[in-house]
Structures are given as structure tokens and as C-alpha cells.
């Protein structure tokens, strides 16, 4: 009985509203590794999947944004713990997708987990750093607090399949937003595994919705969707960027513009991405004598 075992080829699904579902369109596409070898099939999301993902994110927003910052931090930290448990799977997938191995891929996965922990620590510090008590000329106590922007569409970086994804997703969540993520088109598998991590973590369903598919097909629908409050264009295809910004302006979205080339995600982050998806609320509170 020395027959060779038949490999189990996987067909991954989308992660929308806390559940793994096939694309409404029924489509999927083959994902190949850095050396061209077949890895798995990924679901190819349609505009209606994007619409459903936005509905799910909108539904999850009051709960997630209303949770205490401390609680959000705990929930996000738990995600990092689960990522640590899946470290070997991430190593294999990032290695296959990006064609790196050895120490380099280990450092990428470690950096991704550390990045998640770093942002988890920020949840209850954002208000202190970005908020302020404002001196005003009158009998008022005037203060400004950052509040989450709402539903954020994220076009994830195309090259860095895990560290890049974590670097754009974690700050959005830490600030209290809910997210619709379009994973890297050609390297979606680490993102799918991250979705599996999120599904088994304490992050409520709908807070993160992960779509795989053609970024060029999905991004115009997200940019024009009136119920999306902000869009991160980091992974947008270069020829579409201007048009996406113009479309997003049609419904007055907050837009985080794409850098000319994909940044070096291994560099120590700052709070730029936290600041990008918060709104400042200023309160004038009358003071008694």
C-alpha cells in the first residue's frame, strides 16, 4: 500500500460578516506561488460581495466602535496570540507567496505579529495622544477627542502579503473602525489564514470582512459606495488611482492616498495610519463658577 497520497487542493472562501462564504458570483481563481506553482483556489469576489461586506461592516460598527478602548486592545492582543499559534502556517504561506525563505520569512512573520501587538497597545492611548483639552476664552471646558471614522475600505498592499496587510488593517481596527479588506490579488492566502485567525478570535463578526479577487474590479464599487466612510488606496492598481480618488470624492470619503511605490513595511511604524481614520470631535462644556 505505497500509493502516493492525492493532494487535497483547497478552494478558499471569502470572510464576510463573521462567516466564510463563497462568492455570490460562484467564481474562483487559481493562486500560484512565487515560482509559478499552483497553491490553491481563492474565491473571486464580485461587486455584490463587496456590497454585502459593507453591510456587514456597517452592522458591526456600533458594537466595535462603542466597545471601550481597553476592551478593543484586549481583543486585538488575543488576535496576535492566535497568530503566534499559526506561525508555521503563516511561514509556509508567506514563503510560497513571496518566494522568500529562511530567516527572512521568519522575520516577516514575526514582524507581522509584533506589529499587531504594537497597534493593540495603541487602542487606549489614541485619545490621549490625538485628543486635547483646549484653552478657550470663556467659561467652557473645551476638549477634543478622536472618534472612529466608520466603515473603512482597505485595498491591501499587493506585494507584502502578511506584514503589509497587518500594517494597514490593525490601525484601522485599533482606532475603532470596521473594515472591508481587498486582499493582495496574487498573494491572497496569508490574508485568508488571517481571516481564519480572526474568525476564531474574539473580534466580532463583521468587524473585518475579507474579500479576495480582482482589485481593479472591486475597488471602484467600494470607492463609490455611499456607506463607506473612508478608503485606503495603498494596494490600488496605479492606473486606477486618480479615478478612484475622484470617485471617492463623490461621496466625500476620507481617502488615504497610495504611495508611489509600496513602502518598506519592516520599518518601525508611527501613528500616521491611526490618525488617518479618526474624526476629531470637539465639545464645549459650560462650566459653573
Amino acid at each position: 500500500m505505497s500509493e502516493q497520497r492525492v493532494a487535497v487542493a483547497k478552494t478558499y472562501k471569502l470572510y464576510v460578516g463573521g462567516a466564510f462564504s463563497r462568492s455570490e458570483s460562484g467564481r474562483s481563481y487559481p493562486v500560484t506561488g512565487a515560482r509559478g506553482e499552483f497553491l490553491a483556489h481563492a474565491a473571486q469576489a464580485s461587486r455584490k460581495d463587496a456590497r454585502d461586506a459593507v453591510s456587514a461592516a456597517r452592522k458591526a460598527f456600533p458594537g466595535w466602535s462603542g466597545a471601550t478602548a481597553y476592551n478593543r486592545g484586549q481583543v486585538l492582543y488575543r488576535v496576535a496570540e492566535l497568530m503566534e499559534g499559526r506561525r508555521d502556517q503563516f511561514l509556509a504561506e508567506v514563503s510560497a507567496a513571496e518566494g522568500t525563505n529562511g530567516r527572512r520569512v521568519q522575520s516577516l512573520v514575526d514582524a507581522a505579529i509584533d506589529r499587531w501587538v504594537w497597534y493593540a497597545g495603541w487602542t487606549d492611548k489614541i485619545a490621549t495622544v490625538l485628543g486635547s483639552a483646549n484653552p478657550v476664552a470663556g467659561p467652557y471646558f473645551c476638549f477634543s477627542v478622536p472618534e472612529p471614522t466608520g466603515v473603512v475600505a482597505i485595498l491591501a498592499p499587493q506585494s507584502s502579503s502578511l506584514l503589509g496587510l497587518v500594517s494597514v488593517l490593525a490601525p484601522v481596527l485599533a482606532a475603532g473602525n470596521t473594515a472591508v479588506v481587498v486582499a493582495s490579488q496574487d498573494r491572497p492566502l496569508p490574508a485568508v489564514t488571517l481571516a481564519e485567525v480572526l474568525a476564531t478570535s474574539d473580534v466580532p463578526g463583521g468587524v473585518v470582512n475579507l474579500l479576495t479577487g480582482r482589485t481593479a474590479e472591486l475597488s471602484p464599487w467600494l470607492a463609490s459606495h455611499a456607506d463607506v466612510n473612508a478608503i485606503d488606496l495603498t494596494g490600488a492598481p496605479a492606473p486606477l488611482r486618480t479615478e478612484l480618488e475622484r470617485t471617492a470624492a463623490g461621496t466625500v470619503k476620507r481617502v488615504l492616498r497610495a504611495p508611489a511605490s509600496e513602502p518598506d513595511w519592516t520599518r518601525t511604524p508611527d501613528i500616521t495610519r491611526l490618525r488617518a481614520f479618526v474624526e476629531t470631535k470637539t465639545v464645549w462644556h459650560p462650566m459653573g463658577a
Binding site: R51, V54, R58, W221, S224, H225, A226, D227, V228, T247, G250, T251
Partner: protein, 334 residues
Amino acid sequence: MAALSTGTAAGERETPAPRPSPLPPDLADATRDESTLRRFLHGLPGVDAVGLEQRAAALATRSIKKAAKLWAIDTAIGMVDLTTLEGADTPGKVRALAAKARRPDPARPEVPSVAAVCVYPDLVDTAVAELRGTGIGVASVATAFPSGRSGLRVKVADTELAVEAGASEVDMVIDRGAFLSGRYGRVFDEIVTIRRACRGAHLKVILETGELATYDNVRRASWLALLAGADFVKTSTGKVSPAATLPVTHVMLQAVRDWYDRTGTPRGVKPAGGIRTTKDAIRYLVAVHEVAGPRWLSPKLFRFGASSLLNDLLMQRRTQLSGHYSGPDYVAVD
């Protein structure tokens, strides 16, 4: 059907308008007394539950797109009975609802107004004042809505309160306890009595199908209501789950179609409760067209009892016209 009445105060009130066309002999015979009524209702053919659900599910898969979808959305908007039935309702809320009923989407004045506004009896005068001259009906629930657990005197007084305040439509609930224990004559008399108290206002009879347990009972209750003079049969109060479902609406549509075939008078159907999305509403319209017929695709004969449905219809309408998805920030909160 005074033969069945037991001489209540309301039973002595005069009827302003007799039913326009007399019933054919077999139907008239069914309403002679309690036992003929029972024999008639139990003689109705049983509902094939599996076949019914399968047909309802099959019709629900029909794809309605583009121009047909836009037509369906506008038709559905015109069929909405915009409803607020909360303990916390205020005259201000009813005024806001009336404004929305007149012009559902202020940015697009071509959107049709809804069919009616549906409120509790004590708020009817507010709604009437707001909607005078618009052609939009004012419907009021009555007869100890939603449970129907009260005496006939109270139910008649409840109805009169609504009608005197100017309600053009009355949504009454049947006594489900009496119906389920087989006292059909009592339910029949009650509907007849309320029909008189309506003095010409449209009468919708709420069967509360979620409490009737079987499709056979839904069919019997529909016929009972039609025999007693209901202008509309309505699925639910919206306070009981399950509320309106497609199969139940199919049974009721079959009843009004059969009623039309036998008497020549068209009667309406109103599913209410649980219809929240445009997709749901379009499925109901398909059922109306296929089961009852195109004649029923009119607010005169088909209504949606809903509150949140209207916003979804408006968002879908905007999506169809603008080419991008709309959001709840762009429609009125109610």
C-alpha cells in the same frame, strides 16, 4: 349576517352601505348559521404544504433587473402602508412619518407617495390633519390590537374612535382564540359588527398567521374574513414571529383570486411584518403577479405593512439610478 349576531349594542347600529353585489347562492348559504359556516370552511380543499413552499421558493428565485426592477421598486413604494405602532409613538413622530409618506425621497420628487400611513387610533387625527388632500390614506389598527383580547363593546368603540377621527382604513385583528377553538361564528359576527362600525372605511382583517399554526387554518381564516366582508386580508400584526412569509401570502392570494372567480368582486391582500428589503418586496410582487394576477399589482388590492422597508426601497432606487451603492446616511431616519 344578523342571524349569527347575538344582539350586541353595536349589532343594532344601522349599516350605511350594503355590500355592492350579493353573494352567489352557495357562498350565501355558507353564512346561514354556525354549522353551515363550519361545514363550508372545513370543506375547503386542504393546502399541500410541501408543494406550496416549493412553489413559493421557486418563484422567489426569479430575477428582476434593470427597468423591471425600477418599475417594481416604484410600484412597491406606492403600496407601502407606512406603519408606526409603538407604545412610544408621539404626534411628532406621526407628523414626521406623514411628511415621509407624502414625499418619500425629498431629493427626488418623482418618487411616488406611499399608499397609507398606519397608526394607533388615538393618533389618527394627527395623521389625518397632515395628509388631508394628498390622497394618502390613514389606516388605524383597532379592536384591541394586537392581541384582540377584549370584549366586543370595547372593540367596536375602538373602531369608532378611529373612524370618527377620520381613518379611511381600519386594520382589525380577529379573535384567534375563538378561531382556534372552532368558534367560527363568533369570529364571523365580530368581523361583521366591526364592518358596520367602519361606516364605509376600508376594512383590513388581520389573521395573525403566526398564531394559526397551519396553512389550512390560514385558508379557512381568509375565507371566513372574505365571507364576513373584509376588503383586505392581512397576514400579521407585526408583533408576533413569524410574521408575513411568502407561502402564507400565497395561500391568501389564492383565496382572493378564488373569491374573485366566484363572486366577481376583487379583494386585497396585505402582508405585514418582517418585510425589510427590496429583494423581499420584489419576491412578493412576483407572487402577486403569478398567483393572483396582474390586476392585483395595485395599491387598491395589494399593500405592504412596513416601516423599514421604505428606506431600503429608496436606497435601492438611488442605486439603480446613480450606478453606485447608496447608504442609510442618505435617507430619513424614522
